[in-house]
Symmetry: C2
Subunit: 168 residues, 2 copies
Amino acid sequence: MRNSFVKLIVSNAKLSGMTCPAELDRFEVADKLHSAAIHLLRHAAKPDAQSGQGPARLSALSVLVFGGPKTLGELAAAERVKAPTMSRIAAGLKRAGLARIQKDGKDARRIQISATAKGERVLQEARQRRIRALAEALAVLGPGELTALQGAAEIIERVVRERVIRAN
Amino acid sequence: MRNSFVKLIVSNAKLSGMTCPAELDRFEVADKLHSAAIHLLRHAAKPDAQSGQGPARLSALSVLVFGGPKTLGELAAAERVKAPTMSRIAAGLKRAGLARIQKDGKDARRIQISATAKGERVLQEARQRRIRALAEALAVLGPGELTALQGAAEIIERVVRERVIRAN
DNA sequence: TCGGATATGTTAGCCATGCTAACGATTAGC
DNA sequence: GCTAATCGTTAGCATGGCTAACATATCCGA
């Protein structure tokens, strides 16, 4: 999936249709952000391989660890994935001993998926490795730059959340 | 792959070992950035599906369009992917008429991969859709927030680039 | 110059992750 | 109670990562 979209102001201008300066800026910022996000995630993803689990499983496991037990449908929705995909991910987590699957007492169609102690440990270790790798990279920054990044992260979350809500 | 690592200050403190406030901040910022990057890319990736090409192909194609013709090895290195993987991606691009593959005159082992006119068009359209989706999301922001995001993107690029160089 | 080492791609085959279609079982609702 | 909706699974397809093993081609040292 690895990427490297070169940032060309020229092509941004072409894309935006040269409408106005504000428009141009948005496109430029969007392009830079996209590239930065790709590079940041590529950097952060490296340590995850050590866990022996794929990204989909780690991600689903994190939902279970931080969000508590979920039915398959809930987990699929949380991960924005279709039910068959999550069915397979859950089976993989169970096979690896990271999650348990129990019947729902009230609705026999449903299943309850929850993280095991081993699952919690594996997730925390993977998370620790990933965040530590990023945090080490951030160690070269001063407090002002850290604050800028934190603010940017919050802006991004807000913007994306608004879009998602509008889309639904 | 979809993710949603919940940000818990408590667990950050646990991860950092409670060494000092600056350490804690780095972990917190790292976690927020990671989450924001995932959500941003998830948002930006949606329009790409319209192109009918997978992300790996689009990404490799962008390298060809913006970086010019490449040998398979060069393209694999640019995408941080092994040769067999890029071999298959290149075959897919050729099959879709987005790239051409020519023999290298000087070294018969090598091949030259380059984007076709159709490839350029398809990439620009996909890129346009993707960046436009992001730019629309950014439309709710004021100039100060845009500037903050741009600065953050530059900081991220700098930090990650330094790490990559150091790792090599 | 020749022959082994190195470099470059390809093929085969594994696994993980996404999807849709089709199905089985269960529950809800009229 | 019968029909329709819901929930999960299975089967099958495509993409995209990997390693191992291979075929060529080039390089380099004896």
